[in-house]
């Protein structure tokens, strides 16, 4: 029963189904419970919250990540799965503290000053929440001092910066510089992403990591967390 429910959660993450009304990638599954219903059922059945997250949601998303890398999945397929994980995590949220589940770490994410694009940042945020991190999203067009103040106040382990424009990506370097000027650089790891950004650029501004896409961003943060 337990294993069956958990594997159904995993399967429905892979299918990208939030509720029973959603279509999946395979035909003929509309009407069967989606991630929301299955997570609720799993909680009611007394299944450990940790198992729902690790064996159901996260494992499902790992499969999606592999399919995305193998180009079997495209961005919309990945997003549907990310939405399903987000919906599952929202239901689990009130149970996390009670179950003694600790966050893997806190991450502040922001689209840098001058840049209004935030869909990429939102995707990364969902993937990070699904992977067990606490995410504080500062939004878009966030100026450097606001990010510095948030780092001082929230004491995160990571800062994730996003930019979609060549004209604003340089502001990422300003944030890293300002973190240093305020004595905070050695307290956080900074990971950057966005269409015009590259590993070389990340290195040139002194970032700790670069995520070419949402999954790679999570992988970089996981590897920095365990380093």
């Amino acid at each position: 029963m337990t294993e069956d429910l958990i594997s159904q959660i995993m399967e429905n993450v892979i299918q990208g189904r939030v509720t029973r009304d959603d279509e999946g990638l395979d035909e003929g599954i509309v009407g069967q419970p989606g991630v929301s219903e299955l997570v609720q059922e799993a909680i009611a059945s007394g299944i450990k919250i940790e198992d729902i997250i690790n064996q159901g949601l996260t494992k499902g998303m790992e499969v999606v990540g592999k399919k995305f890398e193998a180009k079997e999945y495209f961005i919309p397929d990945m997003l549907a799965s990310a939405e399903a994980v987000g919906a599952g995590m929202e239901i689990l949220e009130p149970h996390l503290t009670k179950s003694g589940i600790k966050s893997k770490g806190k991450i502040i994410v922001a689209t840098v000053k001058g840049d209004l694009h935030d869909i990429g940042k939102n995707i990364v945020s969902i993937l990070l929440r699904g992977a067990g991190y606490t995410v504080k999203d500062l939004g878009n067009d966030v100026d450097t001092q606001t990010i510095v103040a948030a780092v001082r106040e929230e004491k995160p382990q990571f800062v994730g910066l996003s930019a979609l424009l060549t004209s604003t990506m340089t502001n990422m370097g300003d944030v890293i510089q300002a973190l240093g000027d305020n004595g905070l650089r050695d307290k956080v790891k900074v990971v950057i992403g966005g269409a015009p950004v590259s590993a070389e650029f990340a290195q040139s501004i002194g970032a700790d990591g670069y995520g070419a896409d949402g999954f790679k961003a999570v992988a970089v943060i996981e590897s920095l967390a365990s380093a």
Binding site: G16, D22, E23, G24, L25, E27, F74, I75, P76, D77, L79, A80, A82, E83, G86, A87, E90, K113, G114, D115, L116, H117, D118, I119, N122, I123, I126, D141, L165, T166, S167, T168, A195, P196, S198
Partner: protein, 225 residues
């Protein structure tokens, strides 16, 4: 000068939108994605208010990276200077589909519906691109009728043309900016807007094929053409 808010039928096809959201080549998107894109394509017209404005000005002189346009409009960019030294006139334009669509995108994202937000955002990007193409084609046809050539579009924020030059470009529009405003960092609001210039020069000139990307070393530039 021509500024208009007349209804323009922005026809989008599904392939264009699918390409924008990442499907390429011969891959077939799942039925779920197809029906979502179909549904939004049927209804997106209610969310867009196409508007555009453009002005045609004389190019007075070009020296180094400076292009001096009539009425003290100055563009600073080597790439733009190389374009405008081949031109007698320059069209300065701005187009937008308004802000309703992006308000809906933001609402969907806030509700956690990232897939829907991404699809609608892609439709908005395709729509504003189509509107810019419409303006470009109108200018090309009008110029062609006078035996003149036109260049492709160039926008501040690409190549060596600093985004700060948006202010000069908007000033050149004589205040009719199709209700687009600039943020302090020179981004356009509504976001689904495109501004730029198109050069006009003698017929059959090399102007039409002028493409600085061919000699640019930034192979991974997202604006590469």
């Amino acid at each position: 000068m021509l500024a208009t808010r007349n209804p323009i039928d922005i026809g989008l096809n599904i392939q264009q939108v699918l390409k924008t959201i990442g499907y390429h080549g011969n891959c077939t998107p799942p039925a779920r994605t197809m029906s979502l894109v179909d549904e939004y394509l049927e209804n997106f017209h209610n969310l867009v208010e196409p508007a555009y404005s453009y002005v045609i000005r004389d190019v007075e002189w070009v020296q180094g990276p400076i292009s001096f346009i009539r009425d003290a409009v100055i563009f600073k960019s080597q790439v733009i200077a190389r374009l405008l030294e081949q031109c007698q006139k320059v069209v300065v334009f701005a187009v937008t589909i308004g802000n309703h669509l992006e308000e809906m995108v933001n609402q969907l994202a806030e509700d956690g519906l990232i897939l829907q937000a991404t699809v609608l955002d892609a439709i908005g990007s395709s729509a504003v691109e189509k509107l810019a193409e419409f303006v470009e084609t109108s200018i090309r046809e009008a110029s062609g009728a006078q035996d003149l050539s036109t260049s492709r579009r160039f926008s501040p924020g690409y190549c060596d043309w600093n985004i700060g030059q948006q202010r000069m470009l908007f000033w050149a529009l004589n205040g009719d900016t199709a209700d687009i405003r600039l943020t302090r960092t020179c981004l356009m609001i509504p976001q689904k807007s495109i501004s730029g210039i198109i050069g006009i020069g003698p017929g059959n000139s090399a102007l039409e094929s002028y493409n600085p990307c061919r000699t640019c070393k930034k192979r991974h530039c997202p604006g590469r053409r």
